[in-house]
């Protein structure tokens, strides 16, 4: 099958000569990094590729048991036959549970819609079937849930509803396009288990698209590795993980295992230096909102009495699921947000102690030279209208440290330090990939010779091979520059690779803090145990996720 995007003079071959077969009752995982064409492959099957994409050749044969095969690729995309297949024979679950449900229709109605559109049953029985489906996807109180709107559901609940919708017409094939990528690991594990159960009950053929080798190892029967629109390797899961052939597959697997839970950690054991940062009883409560015209909102605690110490030269990880307050904590430490109560004692280079929580704008200036921040999204954290030279040099310039020729030299030195050629200085951010941009952001953070870098999900937006590279870069720079890190992430593998100690956050509190190795091997708290159990391990011989 080939799907091309003709764009003016050039054509992007998003899917180039891809062949595979999918069998009833089995799971085929398509794995690859961003831009590899895995989603377009899935969308091509349903003929819902966005413009200007077109299927240029090849066949997509769909053969239900005991019937003649149908070539989907030959059907007109808007024809009746294609519409009959969509949803009824082949159904799809999308990545983003926030946007793939209609916000203005009730959940039950959305599930029943497919049944009514295909005229499989009347309205009353469709409604009953919707409730039944919600029960099947393990949504509590299905009768009531069917009457609710999507915004009343959490991300995991919406993805369950999405699956219920996909299964409404008893399809034979379920295409799941990164259905768990936007979810927390514990929720991901639940959804994966659910899909597996439904597959076993209904004999579904599942086409599962993911970038996560851990998920592949846990659920796949067969694996298809894609790179730049082409299939580079295709094998049963055990064989692929045991003896990968293609260099790209090997690279992908190495990167995944490096950040996996079984790999040896990369960080050096450090003898803790003096205390650099002392956080005491740090709380942030968003005040109750009262307004003349709106309903009053109750006060919302985002951080509840957080305590920890950071020692010089160590890497402290902060791990937690979305909404656990880990980003809020990072923002409070660097004072993008002002905490409501508590102290953040920081020891400056000249051994003076300052309470960051009570400083004003002017007082924070010297602190912001020593504590720097690296943000999650490398595409949003560089000003698109400034050259790399201006971006990296900005902190030096505005603090009146360097200017003119000396600034130019320093910027080039910094770029060299993060592994980028100095001649890129005159380019603009849009000319760089995510990984390169994150290096530029790191160069900017290093410009003021900081002592502490707070990295908020700094590697989350990157592909797995790049993730390892960035972490290695930071580890390499650390002893040379005498840095300490606070590394905020939802990814335990990354934390385990990078951090000496880890603090586990849950609902605005630190539930457990200690040595990374000890927490990863023998966690004390029940929540930490649950979190660890939900991490998909990149080892198909060790499938614990679905049985747990």
């Amino acid at each position: 099958m080939r799907t091309y995007f003709p764009l003016g003079r050039m054509t992007i071959k998003a899917v180039d000569d891809v062949s595979f077969s999918l069998h009833a009752g089995r799971t085929l995982c398509i794995v690859g990094e961003s831009g590899s064409g895995k989603s377009i492959t899935a969308r091509s099957i349903l003929q819902i590729v966005g413009r200007p994409g077109r299927i240029m050749g090849g066949q997509i044969l769909y053969q239900p048991q005991g019937q003649k095969p149908v070539d989907i690729a030959a059907l007109p995309a808007r024809g009746q036959q294609m519409r009959d297949l969509r949803g009824r024979a082949i159904a799809m679950v999308f990545q983003e549970p926030m946007t793939s449900l209609s916000p203005i229709h009730r959940i039950g109605w959305q599930i029943a819609e497919g049944l009514l559109a295909h005229r499989l049953m009347d309205e009353k029985s469709a409604r009953a079937r919707a409730v039944e489906l919600l029960r099947q996807v393990e949504i509590p109180n299905p009768e009531e849930a069917a009457q609710r709107f999507p915004f009343e559901f959490s991300g995991g609940m919406r993805q369950r509803a999405m699956i219920a919708m996909a299964l409404a017409c008893n399809p034979k094939v379920l295409i799941a396009d990164e259905p768990t990528t936007a979810l927390d690991v514990t929720t991901q594990a639940e959804i994966l288990r659910l899909i597996k159960r439904l597959q076993d009950e209904n004999g579904l053929a599942v086409l599962f698209i993911t970038h996560d080798m851990g998920v592949v190892a846990q659920i796949a029967d067969d694996v298809l590795v894609m790179n730049r629109g082409q299939v580079v390797e295709q094998a049963p899961v055990m064989q692929l993980f045991a003896a990968p052939v293609h260099p790209y597959t090997i690279r992908l697997l190495d990167a995944a295992k490096k950040l996996g839970m079984a790999a040896p950690p990369a960080r050096a054991t450090v003898t803790p230096g003096e205390v650099l940062l002392q956080v005491r009883d740090l709380s942030l409560t968003y005040p109750a909102q009262t307004s003349l015209f709106r309903k009053a909102k109750p006060p919302m605690p985002a951080l509840k009495g957080v305590n920890f110490d950071l020692y010089e030269g160590e890497n402290l990880g902060i791990v937690g699921e979305s909404g656990s307050g880990k980003t809020t904590l990072g923002s409070c430490l660097i004072r993008v947000l002002k905490p409501s109560t508590g102290q953040v004692q920081y020891r400056l280079r000249d051994d003076r102690w300052l309470d960051l929580a009570s400083l004003d704008r002017a007082g924070l200036r010297p602190v912001h030279r020593e504590i720097r921040m690296v943000f999650q999204d490398p595409f949003a954290s560089l000003n698109p209208r400034m050259t790399i030279e201006q971006c990296v040099g900005e902190p030096l310039l505005v603090n009146n440290l360097l200017s003119g020729r000396a600034l130019q030299l320093r910027v080039r030195e910094l770029l060299g330090r993060v592994g980028l050629p100095p001649d890129i200085a005159s380019r603009y951010p849009h000319a760089f990939s995510g990984g390169q941009r994150q290096r530029i952001v790191i160069a900017r953070a290093l410009a003021l010779d900081p002592r502490l870098i707070i990295a908020d999900e700094a590697t989350s937006a990157l592909d797995v091979t790049l993730r390892g590279q960035i972490l290695d870069l930071l580890l390499e720079l650390q002893p040379k520059l005498g840095l300490s890190f606070i590394f905020i992430s939802h990814d335990l593998g990354v934390i385990r690779y990078f951090c000496n100690r880890v603090a586990v956050m849950y609902r605005g509190e630190i539930v457990e803090i200690g040595d990374t190795e000890q927490i990863c091997t023998s966690p004390r708290e029940a929540y930490t145990q649950r979190l660890l159990a939900a991490v998909p391990e990149a080892e198909p011989a060790h499938r614990v996720l679905l049985t747990a």
Binding site: I334, V336, R365, H368, R369, R372, M373, F375, Q376, D377, A380, S381, L382, N383, P384, R385, T387, E394, P395, V398, N399, S426, R427, Y428, H430, A431, V441, R444
Partner: protein, 363 residues
């Protein structure tokens, strides 16, 4: 130049050039403004030159090829018309006279005028070779004046009122929108309520009241400026909202946060980091706001409270077409309306193209 070294502004221009309709719009807008600047030279006649014997003269078509006994020549000309009277109703009718040809030429000497108000000259872009011969490409009005010349001269007032009005609006919009978006809180609340109040006012009655309050004996120039101010008093609200929205969106971008953490002062954050990202959006919104200004001027002048004769603007010209009899006798009196429509459409296409180029991710 390779793609990687292009700045954001250059990329915007590249994206804009791909927008065909917008490029057409840009060409038309530039042409219109050039015509407005050199209006007296482009117009074949003085807009005040009247001739009681040529009242409601119909439009003449230009013929490019002239044939005579010695073969054919490239020599543009128009056929003359003969005035006749209907023997019963005594109404004036014009009949085509195939024997009379008025040949046209480039850069003829015609009615004297002052270019840019101080260079005395009598050379026009084109016109009849013999300046005493009439030529009415778009017909003549009730006093036998050339409609084409009047539309060209009127472009100056109508188009410049658009620019001046938008400049006023832009100033108010950026100041109030910027304050609102950057400071937030109570200031934002107050400014937004004021904007909502202004938007809720019925525009035309307010304009009419304000314009009617202007003293009758004002000079045309003073009146012109007052009208721009009146029009932009309402127009700034839209721009203020655009600016505020962009400020709010930008404020939460992480590059703005990191500029703050880099130690940038408030002024530097606004001028170095936020405003450059706003300019292309502002230019696009401004382009889309000009048509509203032009239409407002047209409406006011048409209703008789904007620019008044002898001042010439498209709205003032359309006043001639207010009664059915004159339209029935001379439908070409509506042509200033076509000029308004052309300008408004061209500006809208241009503005759409600019907006798409400035924000490629919006769609």
């Amino acid at each position: 130049m390779s793609d990687v070294t292009l700045s954001e502004a250059q990329l915007t221009w590249l994206r804009f050039r791909r927008h065909r309709l917008a490029m057409i719009g840009l060409t038309i807008v530039i042409a219109l403004y050039v015509i407005a600047i050199f209006a007296e030279a482009v117009a074949p006649f003085s807009p005040e030159k009247s001739n009681a014997r040529l009242v409601f003269h119909p439009p003449q078509a230009i013929h490019l090829i002239d044939t005579d006994d010695s073969g054919w020549h490239f020599r543009p000309f128009v056929y003359g018309y003969r005035l006749a009277r209907d023997p019963v109703t005594l109404a004036a009718t014009y009949a085509l006279d195939g024997t009379r040809k008025t040949s046209l030429t480039l850069f003829p000497h015609g009615d004297p005028y002052r270019l840019f108000a101080f260079i005395p000259t009598d050379i026009h872009l084109f016109g009849p070779a013999d300046p005493s011969q009439p030529m009415f490409l778009l017909g003549a009005d009730r006093q036998g004046r050339d409609v084409l010349s009047r539309i060209i001269i009127g472009a100056r007032a109508s188009l410049s009122i658009g620019l001046l009005g938008v400049a006023n609006s832009l100033f108010l919009g950026i100041v109030f929108g910027g304050l609102s978006g950057f400071l937030g809180g109570r200031v934002d609340w107050f400014i937004q309520r004021v904007i909502e109040f202004i938007i809720s006012l019925p525009t035309i009655p307010i304009w009419l009241a304000l314009a009617a309050a202007l003293p009758k004996d004002m000079s045309p120039l003073a009146k012109y400026f007052c009208i721009t101010v009146i029009i932009s008093l309402i127009g700034w609200t839209e721009l203020a909202r655009v600016v505020r929205g962009r400020f709010l969106a930008l404020r939460s971008e992480s590059f703005v946060t990191s500029a703050w953490l880099d130690g940038c002062s408030r002024g530097r954050i606004i001028y170095r980091h936020m405003l450059p990202s706003l300019t292309s959006h502002i230019i696009a919104s401004v382009t889309l706001a000009i048509p509203a200004m032009i239409l407002a001027e047209t409406a006011l002048s048409f209703l008789g409270v904007g620019l008044q004769p002898p001042a010439i603007s498209w709205g003032a010209l359309l006043k001639e077409a207010q009664n059915v009899e004159s339209i029935a006798a001379a439908p070409w009196l509506l042509l200033p309306g076509a000029a308004v429509a052309l300008t408004v459409l061209a500006l809208n296409f241009l503005g759409d193209g600019l907006r798409d180029a400035a924000d490629p991710h919006a769609n």
